[in-house]
């Protein structure tokens, strides 16, 4: 009889050992899953113990039987509560909608645990098998039903916005879990609840995004940038440009000299690709050099800055502003003959984050383009990495912000009321890495 419990425990212990030995990023989803894994393992252990004790009612003391049964059922409610929590966070991540049911779910958890530990317990010995019974299990069973209903509801309501693979795996596992629970409810002696729980946990594990995959992709990108960098010695490049600049100025050509000066600045700042994070000031300096050159090439292009000076020292992922501005120029202002303005502003938000806005007076989104971009930025992790021409592209900016700052930060676009679009970069206010 104990064989199934031992097998399930071994399967999940194996999953746990693989999961915990891999490098992970601390996101709410991963934290919840870590807790869930541990609680499920404890639960399966208790499952095995109770299956033994309930068949040895004469030899095992009553108080011990009571204790393990109450602990077993208590951990079961906790597990199902964590299922709900996990699905709620997943839905929040996928759809961007905040979770609202956490409060009631926690109150319910407290009530169910209270009922489980206080109400009287009894045991039924029947020909088809022994099982615990009595009022003590009513509240927890109610809790299980409540959470499973919540999970199903959350999945169903947000079905369209959740990733195909995730919703299918978790949906199927949930269906089996509900069936298992119903069968266990109809026939108490079956003692199969562990199966559904293991399956649910496995479905979470299999659909959990491995942040290492994202990390590897970025490493590869960085390597290719370093490779490019190694092809031309940057010092040679900008020292030579500087010599040409001085010659131009000696020849009396101030304009060419100034342009070369800015080009040197641009190269000098952009060879710092080996640092993942830089200060906002560094980013802005690079951007200013870039924009000055562009504004010279297109005299009707204008650029303005409105930066909160206290934000200059904040650490931001390297090379995130230039690609965004370049994108605004290529997709917004190019179609208007580079006539227009780009406004770059940085400000603190009320919840102590930093928002950088890149607003252009360009041609705006074409029909249906905004939805496509929103979709791409939302499902950033599933998009293949690509270097778009010479630029790194907005997708790469999104990926790096998510990886380096956390999933709650990132890039989004809105349409301006009058002209053009605005890119919003939401970033943490982080002064320094050390």
């Amino acid at each position: 009889m104990l064989r199934m419990e031992i097998a399930l425990f071994m399967v999940l212990a194996f999953v746990a050992s693989v999961y915990f030995s891999a490098g992970r990023k601390s996101t709410p989803l991963h934290r919840t899953f870590s807790v869930l894994l541990i609680v499920v393992l404890i639960h399966l252990l208790l499952d095995g113990v109770t299956v033994y004790t309930v068949y040895h009612l004469e030899t095992v003391p009553r108080f011990l039987n009571d204790a393990v049964h109450r602990l077993f059922l208590g951990s079961m409610v906790l597990v199902i509560y964590l299922f709900y929590q996990y699905i709620a966070i997943l839905v929040e991540e996928e759809t961007g909608k905040p979770r609202r049911l956490d409060g009631p779910a926690r109150i319910f958890l407290a009530l169910a645990e209270l009922g489980n530990f206080l109400l009287p317990i009894s045991y039924t010995v029947a020909p088809e098998g022994n099982y615990s019974s009595g009022p003590y299990m009513l509240v927890p069973y109610g809790g299980v039903a409540f959470y499973l209903l919540l999970c199903a509801g959350l999945l169903a309501v947000n079905w369209k916005q959740i990733d195909q693979k995730k919703k299918r795996a978790i949906g199927a596992a949930l269906l089996i879990e509900v069936t298992v629970c119903a069968m266990q409810g109809l026939n108490h002696a079956w003692l199969i609840s562990g199966m559904g729980i293991t399956l649910m946990t496995l479905s979470f594990y299999l659909t959990l995004e491995n942040p290492d995959i994202l990390r590897a992709e970025l490493t590869e990108q960085k390597m290719s940038m370093l490779y490019l960098k190694s092809q031309v010695n940057p010092h040679f490049l900008y020292n030579t440009l500087d010599t040409i600049r001085i010659q131009a100025q000696l020849n009396g050509d101030k304009k060419v000299a100034n342009l070369l000066m800015r080009l040197v600045d641009f190269f000098r700042l952009s060879v710092k690709v080996d640092r993942p994070m830089v200060s906002l000031d560094d980013e802005l300096e690079l951007l200013e050099a870039y924009m000055e050159l562009m504004c010279y090439r297109y005299p009707e292009l204008q650029c303005e800055y409105d930066i909160d000076p206290d934000l200059g020292g904040m650490q931001v992922p390297n090379f995130i502003l230039q690609p965004i501005v370049e994108n605004s120029l290529l997709h917004g202002l190019k179609n208007k003959g580079y006539r227009g303005q780009v406004l770059i502003s940085a400000r603190k938000t009320q919840d102590h984050r930093m928002e950088i806005l890149v607003s252009d007076t360009g041609s705006g989104f074409a029909e249906g383009k905004k939805a496509a971009i929103d979709q791409m930025l939302l499902n950033f992790a599933k998009q293949p990495a690509k270097l778009e021409g010479n630029s790194i592209g907005i997708l790469n900016v999104q990926k790096r912000i998510k990886l380096l700052c956390g999933p709650e930060y990132g890039l989004s676009y809105t349409e301006n009321p009058t002209l053009g679009v605005t890119a919003h970069l939401l970033l943490p206010m982080k002064e320094d890495v050390q």
């Binding site: 020292n239 100025q249 040197v264 206290d310």
Partner: protein, 254 residues
């Protein structure tokens, strides 16, 4: 005031030519007296020409610029060294600061802004003179030290030549000339310099916000302050604060 004698050290002829011909030495009361293309030549020329200022590249043949400074410091303690470097690497900068160089500027050199560097140099030479001469001998010397002391104490306020004229019962033109003849820089350059010094001190020794530092250094508008600071120091105020606090051993700066 005598003209300041300048020695240019860089292995690239174009860079030396640029310095020589694109910067208005005359207007800054300076004179280029010599050039050197490597470390040994630089050492020899410092000995024979006795320059007041050496404009020095770090990455030069035979002996690097920092070594040249170290060696000639012993013999000529009053020579001012301005390092010009393409390596915007803070470790170089730190080593240069340990050698008590007067200034550190990065390539590419903007010749318009290089004037600020020379002005700052003159002001520090002036301050050296004032601190050495405990007993000012001349009447003019006393007037200018009185004025500079007044400026130091009132730099947070709105201040101009006419305010000074009223305060010291002197003609504004006369005060302007006094600055030019005694320190070698104009009044505004001097005021900006001491305001920047004050700002740097506040940035490193207090945790005041940038706007507060701006106000206490005489700038009502922090945007103006940030611009002036960037132009004079090459970095923004917040970057300046960070660079120094990050540097190991750099936190003890007064």
């Amino acid at each position: 005031m005598n003209k300041l004698r300048v020695l240019l050290v860089d292995d690239e002829i174009m860079i030396r030519e640029g310095f020589k011909r694109l910067f208005d030495w005359e207007a800054h009361d300076c004179e280029v007296v010599g050039e050197a293309a490597d470390g040994m030549e630089a050492l020899a020329k410092i000995d024979t020409l006795r320059p007041d200022i050496v404009i020095m590249d770090i990455n030069i043949p035979i002996m690097n610029g920092l070594k040249v400074i170290q060696l000639s410091r012993l013999k000529h303690p009053n020579t001012a060294f301005v390092i010009v470097s393409g390596y915007d690497d803070f470790s170089y900068c730190r080593e240069a600061l340990r050698l008590q160089i007067t200034d550190y500027i990065l390539k590419p050199v903007n010749y318009e802004e290089f004037g600020t560097c020379i002005d700052n140099l003159k002001i520090s030479l002036f301050e050296q003179r004032v601190s050495v001469a405990a007993e000012p001998e001349k009447q003019e010397e006393r007037t200018i030290t009185g004025i500079t002391r007044y400026l130091q104490e009132h730099l947070a306020e709105e201040i101009s030549l006419s305010v000074l004229a009223e305060q010291f019962h002197l003609n504004p033109q006369y005060i302007s000339q006094l600055f030019k003849s005694e320190i070698g820089v104009n009044f505004l350059a001097y005021l900006t310099n001491i305001r920047m010094e004050k700002a740097k001190k506040l940035l490193l020794s207090t945790s005041l916000s940038i706007a507060e530092v701006a106000e206490q250094s005489g700038y009502g508008d922090y945007r103006v302050f940030t611009k002036v600071f960037k132009k004079s120091e090459g970095v923004t105020p917040s970057q300046y604060r960070r660079d120094f606090l990050e540097a190991p051993g750099g936190a003890g700066h007064p």
